[in-house]
Amino acid sequence: MDFLEVIGFKGLHISLAAEPLFHIGPITITNTIFTAWIVMVLLVVVSFFATRNMQLVPSGLQNFAEAIVGMLYDIVEDVVGHRARVVFPIIATFFIYIVVANWMGLLPGFNSIGVWGDDGKGHEIFIPIFRAANSDLNMTLGMALIAFILIHAGGVIVHKPLGYLKHLAGPLPVLILINVVIEAFVPVSLSVRLFGNIFAGEVLLLVMRAPVVGAAFMVLEVLFGLIQALIFTMLSLIFLGIAMSGEHEHEEAHT
């Protein structure tokens, strides 16, 4: 797919699919997986140093970690109540991972430092070494599927399997079909929204790479990176809250 050539940017190339970067044995590692690993290592290292020597009176990195974790925990607790402790790690990781991955994708070198290589189908293409992790549908869909499983596992655990079926049916049993379709599209909308925004942001920054203009769009992308992380996290959390709550709130939240 050569978007940019289609819209008149000859010579520029950006592919919807992540490009293969290198091989570990039989496994081909793509540039988005590589970036995801960098984000993971960064988060793990920062977390390690933030909590290595916890003090009752916090300072520095510990303060920062406590502020973020505390804020996220309050939000999760507001929605799911006393079950917050169980679902918190996944919900919080959605937010922290997505926002760091999105912002990292804005660093210089992303999509611009790379090598010419084979795309696996015999074509010679430019392969950027660094590519925003969320500009790969596998990444966003993977997270959306985790959210999907979390939402419905939460519903089943809270309402018991039969109760959850009733919960899905709502006031009218016929509605169960509609509700199942709605629920099935939640991961699709979650993943495509995030992917679309980040991918479009990359294309936009590539196209608008003039001084000043580029900086303005960069500011916007910083904002979008945060907003998309918030949207993904909050929607997952709210759907989870709905699945775990009684029928009454279910109706309200869908209207």
Partner: protein, 164 residues
């Protein structure tokens, strides 16, 4: 799906990747931080309770001290009053003693004075009698018997006494 880049292997790979991150962050970030937040909350609650208790205790102590202070003041007042009364009594006693003493000294003085006067008078009387005899002898140039002399002299002296 291929055009979009969706690949079941990479999808599973990313899911495992992400769950690994969830696990690592849970161990390294969420659990220690949330434990610390709980611990701090607990510590603050304890601190507030301790502060409340300390304040109650302090108020009790203050009431106790005030009561003791009031007692001490009353005690001190009583001591001062007693001391004042004792001093007053002592003063009155010493004044009375002094007056008595003065009175006694005065009386003794007067007595001595009276004795002195009486003595002087007696001596004077003798002196006058002797002098009168001498004067009378000189004037009369005549020797009278001593009995008449003495009678004359005694009359003269009593006349002198009467006239003085």
């Amino acid at each position: 799906m291929g055009e979009l880049g969706i690949n079941p292997f990479y999808l599973a790979f990313q899911i495992v990747n992400f769950l690994l991150l969830v696990f690592l962050l849970h161990r390294l970030l969420y659990r220690p931080v949330l434990n610390m937040l709980d611990q701090r909350k607990e510590r603050i609650r304890e601190g507030q309770e301790a502060a409340q208790q300390a304040r109650t205790e302090a108020e009790q102590l203050r009431a106790e001290y005030e009561r003791q202070l009031e007692e001490s003041r009353a005690h001190a007042r009583k001591i001062i009053e007693d001391a004042t009364a004792a001093a007053e009594r002592l003063r009155e006693e010493s004044v009375a003693n002094a007056q008595q003493e003065a009175q006694r000294i005065l009386e003794r003085g007067q007595e001595e004075l009276r004795a002195e006067v009486a003595h002087a008078r007696r001596e004077l009387r003798q002196e006058v009698a002797t002098l009168s005899v001498a004067v009378a002898g000189k004037l009369i140039q005549e020797s009278l018997d001593s009995e008449k002399n003495r009678g004359l002299a005694a009359r003269l002296v009593s006349d002198l006494d009467d006239s003085s």
